[in-house]
């Protein structure tokens, strides 16, 4: 099929199948469809939209068809995104399964695992969470201590995770565990999957400065995990962890730059108005805003360039650390600007007109951007060591 035909057919299909409610601007978090066994759809349109998109494999457009994907090429996927944007269609499904576990399984999973897990991710039937950080293993992730002992037909998992996003709402977890305590720290880690309803798993939400609790502490007390739930090779889980972190960093960087974002120039005009020449009537704010706009453009161009280079077989590798670093630092800058531009309106926390402090809560949330998935300092360290080859201290 030619790309033009594909675009035409996609446009027609979307026009017919995207329900009206799903074309309203997303308010972000409250309008996201995460899916899962216990998911309560916010509307019938949200449910319809997920079902229709999943039936075409378009919740994960580029995954192979046999695993529930759409089997689209990069160009076709781009067209799909453009056509969805053209009618303001919301994303039918977001999940850690799509962003992280799926790509890892496609790369490292057995055929059985791919067939078992991927279609359920694509259809939004299972909601996943990620068990990485521990109280004593944050930036130094590889020092994690949650242990999984070999008990013949199963692993016995004991320990604690922290910052587990939506653990209290997730159905399953992909988790890093120590399977060889005597090996050097990177060499004794394995990557396992298990059901969050397994006996011995408990979660406890953590109240954040934003007033929300997207993260949990997660405890494992003699949790039995079947051996077949090991992904990849025993004790080689760090390879998968690194792959996933690279993926996560790239997607945090790109996600921030692409999300249905508030417009800084528009907000600034609301607060300050324009002068006779049409310029914002505050040159200091204007410069701050334009710096952020140009840096946003630079970030997008870099994401696109890396994609093009990866496709042309020119390695990108550790450079994804730059996207994570630049994207998150920029997002924090942008939100500081939104707060100052918004003035006293931006400070409202519990009020109807601020929609219960949406902006202030988003602002506080951005502070985590440069911590989660590897801090800015870790990113700079990666660039210094892996790209610049600066000597280890």
């Amino acid at each position: 099929m030619s790309l033009d035909t594909f675009r035409q057919e996609t446009r027609e299909w979307l026009a017919k199948n995207c329900p009206p409610e799903m074309r309203k601007p997303s308010r972000g978090e409250p309008d996201i469809c995460w899916g899962g066994r216990n998911w309560e759809f916010q509307s019938n349109d949200q449910k319809l939209w997920l079902e229709r998109m999943a039936s075409r494999g378009w919740t994960v457009p580029m995954w192979p068809k046999e695993y529930g994907g759409g089997g689209l090429s990069r160009e076709e996927e781009k067209i799909l995104r453009e056509e969805m944007r053209a009618i303001n269609a919301r994303s039918p499904l977001e999940s850690f399964g799509i962003w992280m576990l799926g790509p890892a399984l496609l790369q490292f999973g057995s055929e059985t695992q791919k067939k078992e897990y991927l279609p359920k991710i694509a259809r939004g039937e299972i909601r996943w969470c990620q068990g990485y950080s521990e109280p004593g293993a944050g930036s130094d992730l590889a020092s994690l201590q949650t242990k999984a002992e070999d008990k013949g037909d199963h692993f016995l998992v004991n320990g604690q995770k922290i910052w587990t996003s939506y653990a209290d709402k997730a159905d399953w977890i992909f988790c890093l565990v120590r399977t060889d305590p005597s090996a050097p720290k990177h060499k004794g880690i394995s990557f396992v999957l298990f059901d969050m309803t397994t006996k011995g798993v408990t979660t406890k939400p953590i109240l954040l400065i934003s007033g929300k609790s997207p993260f949990c502490e997660t405890f494992f007390d003699n949790v039995k995990v079947p051996k077949e739930n090991l992904v990849g090779t025993l004790n080689d889980g760090w390879t998968i962890a690194k792959y996933l972190l690279t993926h996560e960093r790239a997607s945090i960087g790109s996600g921030l730059s692409l999300a249905g974002m508030r417009s800084l120039p528009a907000e600034a005009v609301k607060s300050f108005g324009r002068d006779a020449s049409g310029r914002l009537d505050n040159p200091f704010v204007r410069e701050e805003v334009i710096r952020a706009e140009i840096d946003g453009r630079a970030l997008l161009a870099t994401i696109e360039r890396y994609k093009a280079e990866a496709k042309a077989g020119q390695g990108v590798g550790a450079k994804s650390a730059i996207l994570k670093y630049a994207g998150t630092e920029l997002n924090k800058r942008r939100y500081e600007a939104f707060m100052t531009i918004g003035g006293s309106d931006a400070l409202e926390w519990e009020s109807a007109r601020s929609d219960e402090g949406t902006l202030a809560r988003e602002w506080l949330r951005t502070k985590a951007n440069s911590i989660e998935g590897g801090t800015s300092e870790i990113m700079l360290g990666i660039v210094a060591k892996r790209i610049l080859n600066l000597p280890e201290a």
Partner: protein, 376 residues
């Protein structure tokens, strides 16, 4: 967005090879210390011709190699890496664009092959005051009899002292500040009434202050009174070229800094082991990556739709000013006392970066222009 294809990678590699061989930084020192009368090497310029660079933006019918703006930027970047002095930007980029886009058939036939064959050097005279502000052009072109007469002064005319001809932005109507009423004229550098004063800059490169006293201007380039768009075409190509050169200046001074961090020892360690320096170096690397994308994006836009490239070009030049300043300042700081010496090259990169920041609009100019392009 694109990745460089094989042809372009070859162009970049051959540019790097040619310039490191024929025009290393020591060549700029030679030109400076020998007080060379041209400020660049004519042999080098002919060598650039042999590689097809002089005609890089000229169509094949007029003897050019027509590599486009992406190719142009690759060459400029490599020139930035070795601080190579040549009339490339004035002649092969800006004059070639003005003539190619706005020239009559006769003008094209006369000048474009001459540019491609390195027979002519053409400077673009725009700035009049301290700051780049093309729409504020005040130099008067008044009709006397059947010809315009030019009166006024131009400054910061790069390669003006060696130019065979000058493209002059003049005002035929309206007031300084109006985009309407600006006209471009081709003037012989030796015409009566033209006096050219060579100015050697902080970067040991050359520009000129040029006085026009009742200079006959019979050779209009494009439609008189409506020259601003054409001028912008030429300037945008030049701005993208200078941004690419700045990418090279920043990239090379950064690479040299990273090499220094791996060889300089203090407190019994390589200074590159200190996290305080590692993180700053990594930050600069990231900034250079972002700049590279904006330069490439601007050139892709110039190749596709040159009349709609203003905003993309301003983004690139803005970022080039910021990243250029950061990279060379940090380079001097990390080289420590050695960075302050004339013996070490790093100071030369800082000097060049300063001039390129100013040339064709500084960061503030381009931030403002970027904002105006989105009505902000």
């Amino acid at each position: 967005m694109i990745a460089l294809d094989e042809d372009r990678i070859m162009l970049r590699d051959s540019a790097r090879e040619f310039l490191t061989d024929k025009s290393p930084v020591s060549e700029l020192r030679r030109l400076r210390d020998s007080k060379d009368k041209d400020g660049f090497s004519r042999d080098l310029w002919r060598g650039m011709k042999d590689l097809g660079w002089t005609g890089i933006l000229v169509d094949e019918a007029n003897g050019g190699s027509d590599f486009g703006h992406v190719g142009m930027a690759l060459v400029c970047e490599e020139m930035g890496r070795t601080l190579a002095a040549s009339p490339f930007l004035s002649t092969a980029v800006m004059a070639a664009t003005a003539l190619g886009r706005g020239g009559s058939e006769d003008q094209k036939k006369k000048w474009l092959p001459a540019i491609s064959e390195a027979r002519a050097i053409i400077a673009l005279a725009v700035d009049e005051g301290r700051k780049h502000a093309p729409e504020k052009t005040a130099l008067k072109a008044e009709m006397a009899g059947n010809a315009f007469k030019l009166s006024g002064e131009k400054s910061f005319v790069v390669d003006g002292h060696v130019a065979d001809a000058i493209i002059v932005a003049a005002r035929t109507e309206g007031e300084p500040g109006d985009k309407n009423g600006i006209s471009l004229f081709l003037v012989d550098a030796k015409a009566p009434g033209v006096s050219i004063e060579r100015v050697i800059g902080v970067d040991s490169r050359n520009n000129a202050r040029i006085k026009f006293e009742n200079v006959n201007a019979v050779d209009a380039l494009g439609e008189t009174g409506k020259g601003f768009g054409l001028l912008e075409n030429a300037l945008n190509a030049g701005r993208a070229g200078i941004a690419a050169e700045m990418l090279g200046v920043a990239g090379e001074s950064f690479d040299r800094t990273v090499a220094y961090l791996k060889e300089r020892k203090q407190f019994g360690k390589f200074i590159g082991e200190f996290q305080a320096l590692q993180h700053r170096a990594a930050h600069i690397f990231g900034e250079i990556e972002l700049l590279r994308s904006l330069v490439l994006a601007a050139c892709v836009t110039l190749d596709k739709s040159p009349d709609a490239a203003g905003q993309a070009v301003s983004a690139a030049k803005y970022k080039a000013c910021e990243v250029g300043k950061l990279a060379v300042s940090e380079a001097v700081q990390m080289f420590g006392g050695m960075g302050m010496t004339d013996e070490v090259d790093i100071g030369l990169f800082m000097k060049r970066a300063r001039v390129t920041q100013e040339f064709l609009g500084d960061a503030y100019f381009h931030a403002d222009r970027y904002a105006l392009a989105q009505k902000f």
